[in-house]
């Protein structure tokens, strides 16, 4: 992650007009335009525990890659305070940078997948998706054996028992493309590919235009149509800024290979939850990794390879 601290000559005397515009004019302009005035006024009335300053601070927060380390810490302080105030939970927000010499890859054995969808549950629990909004990063498809046409898949299969005879199962999540169309599409660079290959979103920079959702060939992106709500006791308090930290309403989110875990050397939650061992994760630059073993010894394929998106998520069979 290129954390280039922005030197600030622009904000000194010679440019006072712009900084004035930025601080004052911009504030009133935006507030007036988008009805923030009543919201701000209400916050003033409540006047509890930085509510107002946090709201204003978040409104004018810079892009994650443009913030100085101090500004990142201020942003994190706002996020943790807000979580405490609104949900009553104490969360930590890590900013672990990508590990040197690491590019993450994922492989999934579709002959082992039985369609139990433990991965989906584990993902929701780990990554703090809204429970009411039912956001899920992983979609498991049920397909007829002998047919790989996704248009024939059942997205809402619900038999008594899985696997059903004659069926096979295919989980799809963000494939962390090496050439991601979503990143190109975003008009404000709110989503980008990290050096370890994970495509992340700055939830405080996303404007919610959903162009990335139109651009994604794998339907991997989700939008917070409403404020994500999680029962207090179910919140995962161990979070990463670019991963499972609390998200506001009106922004896009997606699978990030459990960045809060994998950058600490742990495995993704979906992999740990899989009862059949269908999932393999690791550093594709490490010749001794499990993922490299799969790539070198199994017949693998990737979804819609013809599009040139270069997914870092491979499917294989025994």
């Amino acid at each position: 992650m290129s954390m280039r601290p922005e030197t600030q000559p622009a904000e000194r005397s010679g440019w006072s007009r712009r900084s004035l515009l930025k601080r004052g004019g911009m504030l009133t302009f935006l507030a007036g335009l988008f009805g923030a005035v009543p919201a701000v006024a209400q916050k003033v009335a409540e006047a509890d525990d930085h509510a107002l300053s946090d709201a204003v601070g978040a409104l004018f927060q810079k892009h994650y890659q443009k913030m100085t380390p101090e500004e990142v810490q201020e942003a994190i302080a706002r996020i943790t305070r807000t979580a405490k105030r609104e949900q009553g939970v104490d969360i930590t927000v890590a900013t672990d940078p990508p590990l040197q010499g690491v590019i993450f890859g994922y492989a999934l054995n579709i002959s082992k997948c039985k369609g139990v969808r433990r991965c989906v549950e584990a993902c929701v629990a780990e990554n703090n998706q809204g429970r009411e909004s039912q956001i899920q990063y992983i979609r498991v498809l049920e397909l007829e054996k002998g047919d790989m046409n996704l248009n024939d898949a059942d997205h809402y299969f619900a038999p008594e028992l899985v696997p059903q005879p004659g069926k096979f199962y295919m989980p799809i999540q963000c494939l962390q493309c090496d050439n991601p169309p979503c990143v190109i599409a975003c008009p404000v660079q709110a989503t980008w590919k990290e050096p370890d290959g994970i495509v992340v979103v700055d939830y405080n920079w996303c404007i919610g235009c959903r162009y990335c959702m139109a651009a994604c060939p794998y339907w991997a992106r989700r939008f917070n149509f409403s404020q994500p709500k999680i029962p207090k006791e179910q919140v995962n308090t161990d979070t990463h800024y670019l991963g499972n930290r609390p998200r506001p309403r009106g922004v896009v989110e997606k699978c990030h290979f459990c960045i809060q875990r994998t950058r600490k050397g742990r495995l993704p939650a979906c992999l740990e939850a899989c009862p059949t061992g269908a999932r393999v994760f690791g550093n594709i630059l490490d010749p001794n990794s499990d993922i490299r073993y799969v790539l070198e010894n199994k017949t693998v394929f990737r979804l819609k390879e013809e599009l040139g998106t270069e997914p870092k998520f491979w499917y294989y069979t025994d």
């Binding site: 139109a214 794998y218 009106g250």
Partner: protein, 438 residues
């Protein structure tokens, strides 16, 4: 400087002057806008959950209207080209109305994308220096750029022309012509870029076709001039501003040819999709025939097809097109037909089925419908205000008279202030050309 202040003062006065019908029109528009604003307030409070949108169909009627209106905005060029390049005096006379349509349409496009945003409070993230604009990679960034540029061109050029006329002078060719030339290419570009916004998506085979750009232009030059033809007749009927018949005939010809090309391109696409149907073409199947019981768009698209065919029939046969009532019917059919075809008929099948094969129906919610109506009313209001100011200036009934009596006695004793405008009203007559229906 004084004339500039007077220009705006007179303009504002002009807006607040009119007969009962004019006021009823304004009040009606404001009511629809207020209703839309109320529903948009709900959307701001609760989020886009109040719309019919979903992760599956993540763009809907807002973006459909946006796409349609970019075309309408671009269509002003069909008056600009004959007026300034081919020097047709009668069209030069009405070109301001076309530019007014463009300004109103661009305003609506900006409103439609804004209401579609999940975080409108972060719109400043697109601003240069303050924000982080993904240019030139993102086609959406391009679209923002070309649309604001087009708005700027269509505000400044007419402003210059009007202001010079208001001061009683003649526009300087060397000043306005470069702007006019740029605006011609710019008009084509806004709609091409908007087509690229969709066709650049490899994820969406329904959009990912080279024919999308040409189809966008053909449909734009159908519906835009059709709207202008109707607007011209309304203005002709309700104001002192008279539109000459050859202007309408010329626009009718443009609509005819564009609609014929549009239908041809539709046929080309239809052939490619259905001669040997592929899985990539399943969205077209969904649109025209439905798939597995998902057929929400089928009645719509065939209605659009029927409208366009009937309109093309009327327009193509000269004796029919020459009859004003039939021409208007054809225009109305083409406007609605293209709106369906290029709005919902273009946006929704891009999302259905999803790229991983899920069928999903979308229909706009009440909030989306009322917000959309509010934005259309806002566009009509912008158009009304612009023409209300522009037409008297174009007619020469609203001119600058240094000394301050200008508004009451626009013709005034200061004849030298506006040479070349013989048809000036009597001093007793207020400068309100509208409403005096014969």
């Amino acid at each position: 400087m004084g004339s500039l202040v007077a220009f705006f003062a007179d303009g504002i006065k002009q807006v607040f002057r009119g007969d009962r019908l004019y006021w009823a029109w304004l009040v009606g528009l404001v009511a629809v806008i207020a209703n839309g604003a109320y529903y948009y307030g709900q959307q701001l409070q609760q989020g886009l959950i109040v719309t019919g949108l979903s992760d599956q169909v993540s763009w809907g009627v807002y973006i459909a209207n946006f796409t349609y209106l970019v075309g309408v905005a671009a269509a002003a060029v069909m008056l600009v080209i004959p007026a300034y390049i081919f020097d047709r005096e009668d069209i030069k006379h009405v070109v301001l109305i076309g530019e007014g349509v463009a300004v109103a349409a661009v305003t609506m496009t900006i409103l439609f994308v804004t209401v579609d945003l999940g975080r409108p409070d972060r719109i400043w993230h697109m601003l240069p220096l303050l924000g982080r604009f993904n240019f030139p990679q993102s086609m959406l960034a391009w679209d923002v750029l070309v649309l604001t540029g087009y708005l700027f061109l269509n505000l400044t050029i007419p402003f210059y022309m009007l202001f010079v006329k208001y001061r009683g002078g003649e526009p300087n060719f060397a000043v306005y012509f470069p702007g006019v030339l740029i605006s011609i290419f710019w008009a084509i570009s806004i709609h091409t870029v908007t087509a690229f916004l969709f066709s650049s998506n490899v994820a969406r085979p329904f959009w990912n076709t080279a024919i999308l750009g040409p189809r966008f232009l053909a449909s734009a030059f159908t519906s835009g001039p059709a709207l202008i033809v109707l607007a011209l007749q309304v203005i002709d009927r309700f104001t002192a501003f008279k539109v000459h018949r050859p202007v309408i005939d010329f626009m009718a010809l443009i609509i005819t040819v564009s609609l014929q090309i549009n239908l041809f391109l539709l046929g080309v696409e239809f052939f490619t999709e259905f001669y040997f149907p592929t899985e990539k073409g399943i969205a077209s199947h969904y649109l025209f025939f439905g798939v597995n019981g998902f057929n929400a768009l089928v009645p719509w698209i065939w209605t659009a097809f029927g409208f366009n065919v009937v309109a093309a029939f009327i327009l193509t046969i000269h004796p029919l097109r020459a009859r004003r009532a039939l021409l208007n019917v054809a225009c109305a059919l083409a406007i609605v037909g293209v709106w369906i075809e290029k709005g919902m008929g273009l946006i929704i099948p891009g999302f259905v089925p999803t790229p991983i094969g899920e069928m999903f129906n979308y229909s706009p919610s009440q909030v989306e419908v009322f917000v959309s109506l509010g934005i259309w009313a806002a566009g009509l209001l912008v158009f009304t205000i612009l023409t209300k100011i522009a037409l008297p200036i174009e007619l020469g009934t609203l001119v600058w008279v240094p000394g301050g009596t200008r508004s009451r006695y626009p013709g005034g004793p200061h004849g030298a202030a506006s040479p070349g405008h013989p048809q000036r009203p009597q001093p007793q007559q207020p400068a309100a050309p509208e409403g005096e229906r014969p």
